[in-house]
Symmetry: C2
Subunit: 592 residues, 2 copies
């Protein structure tokens, strides 16, 4: 068993054979040719359940993005087929998601009026740019760039974005006309206009939220106690959005709530499949949309790869980071051609897809077929769908993204990481989602440099009569009055070179009897040009003070560089030692 699982971790061996290459680029090649019959039930069932969730969600997220609801549906057809064929994850469910929809809204809103044809055109163009950025990153294997987005920054961003999204739905939930405002202004505006709430709208939305929460938190347990067959529980609990859509639509239609009480409804949704759409080709527009496209590409990919990886590892499968970029990029290009907007892998739908037994991209294609049928036959039904119901779906979805647990965990582990989370969280709320995440990334990098600018330093001594030298503060060790041996636990570079100088000179100044200083390099992974200059200065300053500098246990590549640049010649070969123990023997305090 151990053996088979190890096989699954292996990368495919390409060897430049055309078929092997094709197989690597088109994972569907494999599962289409060798599709095991027993996978079919799982794929079809998973595809069906996800479609049931996706119909209302895709419309809700389109509204969140400032787009007509059908754009959400369109974005849930071709992109799903494309990902099903190209994706390396077997259970990722691609489509419109909340955070990307928010980013689309912030990116496009300054350029056109929400819901207008120009706005839709810009969203389609954004899908093109996101697709190009992701596909390009996949082709040139730039997937690693997303590593600069640290986990605390992503968690802080997601939590703050969830708050922004949740409160952006207040206008639909309460039926108040709230203008586009910054987060805190929106809170104040909503608070001062609460009296204008449309009570019928709020009752519909509030009721929808209660039903969603009931399905999510309570119903599963009840069904199990009632002895319902387990394979039915997941489809039932996950149909909650569909249930409230049906209920809400029926109520509005039967009681004519939209005419009698002014409940806002979705209205006309065009029927039939989307026609071929093309993006704007205008460098000025592209340049304006590019920052949003880059942020959507990064954030969308990060969210997607995280869920794909975690699901794959549960079944000992593997996802390929660069292939995922390619597949997501192609899915976005598919969205662009068919009237959609940027998509990515969604967290909750992917988990459902996985739990419902999705075994291959067929599940994703199945979902797409069902959405296509919905678009062809069911759109007239959505006329009476109240917007408050869609708002309820969005709100319940994003509450799950508020990640207080991660913050507590990070806070307990490491205050600097908690600061990254906090800065990103605050920045997203204060300066907006795009600038917020960029600020958070900058803060994380500065904090990292700050941390390594004040490294841990240990004065070491000999442990018993061994060859081991350890921190004098943590161990009972032997020292000598005329020798100081210091281990600096960090690479030496510009941000800590002054620290290095101060530390060394401080050690010497405190001990007038010292005439040998040993710098131990076990933790020094590189020495940059600034630190090299500091070392040269130190060597001279110590010499002037009558103290001999020794270097001990410098790593091979680091020592090679010091030798090439002439530092070893300046210091003198006899003062370079393989180990701290060798240094002590050379100084003469240890005799062997």
């Amino acid at each position: 068993m151990a053996n088979s699982s190890k096989q699954s971790l292996k990368q495919p061996d390409l060897n430049n054979k055309p078929i092997a290459r094709l197989r690597a680029i088109l994972p569907a090649w494999h599962w289409l040719r060798h599709y095991p019959r027993e996978h079919l039930v799982g794929d079809v069932l998973a595809g069906f359940i996800v479609a049931v969730m996706l119909v209302p969600q895709s419309m809700a997220y389109a509204l969140l993005a400032g787009l007509p609801p059908e754009v959400g549906l369109y974005a849930s057809i071709v992109p799903l087929v494309v990902y099903g064929l190209l994706g390396s994850s077997r259970s990722l469910a691609v489509g419109p998601v909340a955070i990307v929809s928010l980013l689309v809204a912030t990116g496009v809103a300054p350029l056109a009026e929400a819901g207008s044809p120009a706005y839709v055109q810009l969203a389609i163009t954004l899908a093109l740019l996101v697709g190009l950025v992701q596909a390009l990153m996949g082709v040139v294997r730039l997937g690693f760039v997303v590593n600069f987005l640290s986990h605390p920054v992503l968690a802080g961003f997601t939590t703050a974005a969830a708050l922004v999204i949740g409160f952006s739905q207040l206008k639909h939930l309460l039926g108040i006309g709230i203008p586009n405002l910054e987060f805190f202004e929106l809170l104040r505006y909503a608070a001062t206009h609460l009296a204008e709430t449309n009570r019928i709208t709020f009752a519909l939305g509030g009721g929808g939220i209660l039903i969603l929460v009931y399905f999510k938190q309570v119903l599963g347990g009840q069904l199990r106690r009632w002895g319902i067959r387990p394979q039915w529980i997941l489809p039932i609990t996950k149909s909650a959005p569909l249930v409230i859509v049906v209920l809400g639509t029926a109520l509005v239609w039967s009681l004519q709530l939209h005419e009698r009480f002014g409940v806002a409804i979705v209205g006309d949704v065009p029927d039939g499949l989307p026609s071929l759409t093309l993006p704007l080709v205008d460098m000025g527009v592209w340049r304006q949309l590019l920052p949003a496209a880059v942020v959507i590409s990064f954030v969308g990919y990060m969210e997607s790869i995280a869920v794909a990886k975690s699901l794959a590892s549960k079944r000992r499968q593997k996802v390929d980071a660069d292939q995922e970029l390619l597949a997501l990029g192609a899915a976005n290009l598919g969205a662009m051609f068919t009237g959609g907007y940027p998509v990515t892998g969604g967290l909750s739908r992917s988990v459902v897809n996985f739990e419902a037994g999705a075994n291959s991209g067929l599940a994703s294609i199945m979902t797409a077929v069902l959405i296509a049928l919905t678009v062809i036959f069911l759109t007239p039904v959505f006329y009476f769908l109240p917007q408050a119901i869609l708002a309820a779906i969005v709100i319940v979805a994003v509450v799950g993204l508020i990640d207080v647990k991660t913050f507590r965990h990070i806070w307990q582990y490491n205050k600097a990481d908690a600061a990254s989370f906090g800065v990103t969280f605050a920045a997203v709320l204060l300066v907006g989602v795009e600038n917020g995440i960029l600020l958070g990334m900058a803060a994380a990098m500065l904090l990292f440099i700050w941390r390594s600018s004040r490294p841990h330093v240990a004065v070491v001594g000999r442990l018993g009569s061994s060859e081991t030298y350890r921190n004098v503060l943590r161990h009972q060790v032997q020292c000598w009055p005329n020798v100081v041996a210091v281990r600096i636990d960090e690479s030496l570079y510009f941000a800590n070179s002054k620290f290095l100088e101060d530390t060394v000179l401080g050690c010497i100044a405190d001990r007038p009897e010292v005439d040998n200083f040993v710098l131990i390099g076990t933790a020094v992974n590189f020495i940059d040009a600034s630190a090299l200059e500091t070392l040269e200065t130190l060597r001279q300053e110590l010499k002037d003070a009558g103290v001999q500098l020794h270097l001990a246990a410098i790593k091979g590549p680091v020592l090679d560089r010091l030798r090439d640049i002439g530092f070893v010649d300046h210091l003198g070969e006899p003062y370079i030692h393989l180990t701290t123990h060798d240094a002590m023997k050379a100084i003469g305090v240890v005799v062997e």
Copy 2:
């Protein structure tokens, strides 16, 4: 001897005694009370020579800053007295310098017309802000912040700024009216307007440059060969600026070059000491000037502390970084009150001050007295001084700042550092001095993170029958088919956590027979929250693949954290080992 020099490295022991504290803040307290008579000759001579250099230089740099020449002279009186009393360096010569003057020009030019009273007022206000920023950094001991300015970035900045300054003097040297332009536009403008050169002006300036170069490169050797007494050589060679000022002024006056050929002259310089000046108190103006003030504070301090340190170490003296910030800040506040503009320690004048024998702040005060006398009695003389002569002084001064040697050295040592130099150099020329240095700093930080995101990794094996484990690629070592031991030479954090995962899984995938993976932490100085999560994922992924993860030689503080957060519990205490050798014994491949 070794003993006395070690004493000089000692920090003063304050112990909270008021006198000791005062002595620390006011270094002059010491030398004023214990002034050795034999120091007097050196101080007076150095003060005199520096004054001879400073009179023309200060006027030239004021012109470079877009200010009337007398502002340069004013900035060379009170600031020098203040620094003489507060500075911890015994030989730093403070006053107007080229790069700070350029930064003043770029900071103030967008807000007022060069040379106008409003412009002067803004420069005075800038001196206030620089003084406050520096003094504040000194008081709260923020001197370390300047470490984020790496050596290659500073060198790249200085080299590019020298080019910008040099070419900005073309208009004075050629007598062409060149508008304020970006660097490359200025080059093109000058090239297309060369025909308008005022030949007499160019002859004066070009002659001035030749004389300066002659004094600098040739005259010293000639004087030595002619048997001139050594103590006279320095004063003679350093009087070159004064010589060309006298010659140029005499030529213009005697031949009336300004009236007959339109040679631009300095014109009226007010006589008498400056009256008390006060800065603008206007938050709007302050906010506009603050970026320039911060850059001037940083760059001015960096240039100053570098020369102060290098001179101090030659005489086994010590400068105190925070005290220097305080002293420079106070000097700038002094400039603000007396009609001056931002000052800092100048490279060439400080070296001359040192070589001429400056022993204490008295040299600086001596210079200030001589400049004051010049302002009181000699200003009418400067009426006929041609601006081309001042331009010649600036050009020859900044040529020495073009630092090709450092670039070659850095290029040879480390390409990433060379890239920092290159980015800063190019950015200063392309987007201006202020944005250029900020871009350079950002590039240096990104390059550092980039470097540590792809750390050196070594698969290790046992060296003979020792307890030492070394890189299999560098040493002849023993390995076992079912064990992989990997040492990652970097702290684990967000930017390399994907690298970590890929490396570990790659190792396992290549060796299906492996069932124990040992991660060696000798070079891991910390593990951040992102890397912790990756470790948790890895632990699970390896377990799923039938491979046991071991941690070996994790440092005390790092292990403490892993223990606190529960990772050790998840992994299991038996899989944490003090050394790699212990891990091998526990796995059972090594028996002892």
